[in-house]
């Protein structure tokens, strides 16, 4: 179980390292970034931690000069960084999954690509520029070693849980109703993805009343 706060901080940490970050993102103290990194590093099981930490090490170019983008761009970009990594992660699961699992993984990957496009559209609408995806090789180096279909589904479970938290924790920080509506709609997709992965793992689709474990 991940600490309730970790992804919010992690998201901000990602945004902090992204050169597209707006003011509100840059104020995250370095100590909290370190503690999140430490708590994630302690996880030795298969998980999205490696993905997320690797994703944070963005080497995006500095933003173009011009009018300052609207508030929310940095946060949306930090979510976009997660989504890029998740799309790449599903790509690496392909060779391990068969039949129904493979079919659903591809469907989910396609929906995640849709989320990437939606986030890019929102960021553009705010006058910002989108964080770019890294190369598949760069992502692959940071992913855990997956050897079986079970490994792949556990990894997918971990990624989807994290995405749900990323979106829910972003909600209070998104300044516009339109952005919150979009984030909530995508979060609901991620909840469904998590449920599908649960079913593929032979578990109940909805194991608890609150996806994040608490109200």
């Amino acid at each position: 179980m991940y600490p309730q706060h970790s992804l919010g901080a992690s998201s901000r940490a990602c945004a902090t390292s992204s050169s597209h970050s707006p003011r509100e993102i840059r104020t995250v103290p370095k100590a909290s970034v370190r503690s999140v990194a430490a708590s994630l590093t302690r996880r030795v099981a298969l998980g999205g931690a490696a993905v997320l930490l690797a994703s944070c090490a963005s080497d995006d170019p500095p933003p173009a000069t011009g009018p300052r983008p609207g508030p929310g761009v940095g946060l949306l970009n930090s979510i976009l960084v997660h989504e890029h990594a998740v799309v790449a992660a599903y790509g690496t699961m392909d060779e391990l999954l068969r039949g129904e699992s493979s079919r659903y993984a591809r469907q989910i990957e396609e929906q995640e690509r849709g989320h990437v496009r939606r986030l890019e559209e929102l960021i553009r609408g705010l006058g910002g520029s989108s964080a770019r995806s890294r190369t598949p090789d760069e992502y692959a180096r940071s992913f855990p070693r997956l050897q079986t279909a079970g490994d792949a589904l556990r990894f997918a479970n971990d990624l989807e849980e994290r995405l749900v938290r990323v979106y829910l924790q972003a909600l209070p920080a998104l300044p516009e109703a339109k952005l919150r509506r979009a984030a909530a709609a995508i979060a609901s997709d991620e909840g469904a993805h998590l449920a599908v992965i649960n079913v593929l793992r032979g578990r109940p689709a909805a194991p608890q009343p609150f996806v994040t474990g608490t109200l």
Binding site: Y104, Y167, L168, A177, A184, V199, P209, F210, L215
Partner: protein, 166 residues
């Protein structure tokens, strides 16, 4: 002349439309957080009653019906407490939906009915996220929202339909 006539007509239409415009503006006025919470509570109570009935009639599979009922009950409890701490006493439970009695005659019909309710709840939560003012409510409502989408997957699995509904 023509211009004057149009102007008079516009004016008359404008006068006639004024009360409508006022009513429409009232209807479109942003709802308070309490009103939003009450609307969500009504939906959750309906869902709880729906799965309770499914459990009583063994229409969906006892384990699934009980689990969905218990989760909706947890949502109801959470929303009632949230309203209580804001000084609002939750209203009475909604009356029975006549469509539920029909839906309960057959498993597939019931699952379709429940899917419709879940979809309505999901739309309401997404709308609530856009309009709720108290930012402390956003994450908890989001946690319920994502659970309702999981319920949709559970119902589709019970129907043997594509899990993502596409």
């Amino acid at each position: 002349m023509r211009g004057a006539a149009i102007t008079r007509r516009n004016l008359l239409v404008g006068i006639g439309a004024a009360p409508l415009a006022v009513a429409s503006a009232a209807a479109a006025a942003p709802r308070s957080d309490l009103e939003l919470l009450e609307q969500l509570l009504r939906l959750e109570r309906r869902l709880e009653a729906t799965y309770e009935a499914a459990y009583d009639r063994s229409i969906l599979g006892d384990e699934l019906a009980r689990s969905l009922r218990d989760q909706e009950r947890a949502h109801v409890d959470g929303l009632e407490k949230t309203l209580s701490v804001r000084g609002r006493r939750p209203g009475p439970a909604p009356g029975a939906d006549p469509r539920l009695a029909i839906a309960l005659r057959e498993r597939r019909t019931f699952a379709r009915y429940a899917l419709e309710l879940e979809a309505r709840a999901i739309r309401a939560y997404v709308d609530a996220e856009a309009s709720v003012r108290d930012i402390r409510l956003m994450q908890p409502l989001g946690a319920i929202l994502t659970t309702e989408t999981q319920h949709e997957v559970a119902l589709r699995a019970a129907l043997g339909e594509p899990l993502l509904g596409v």
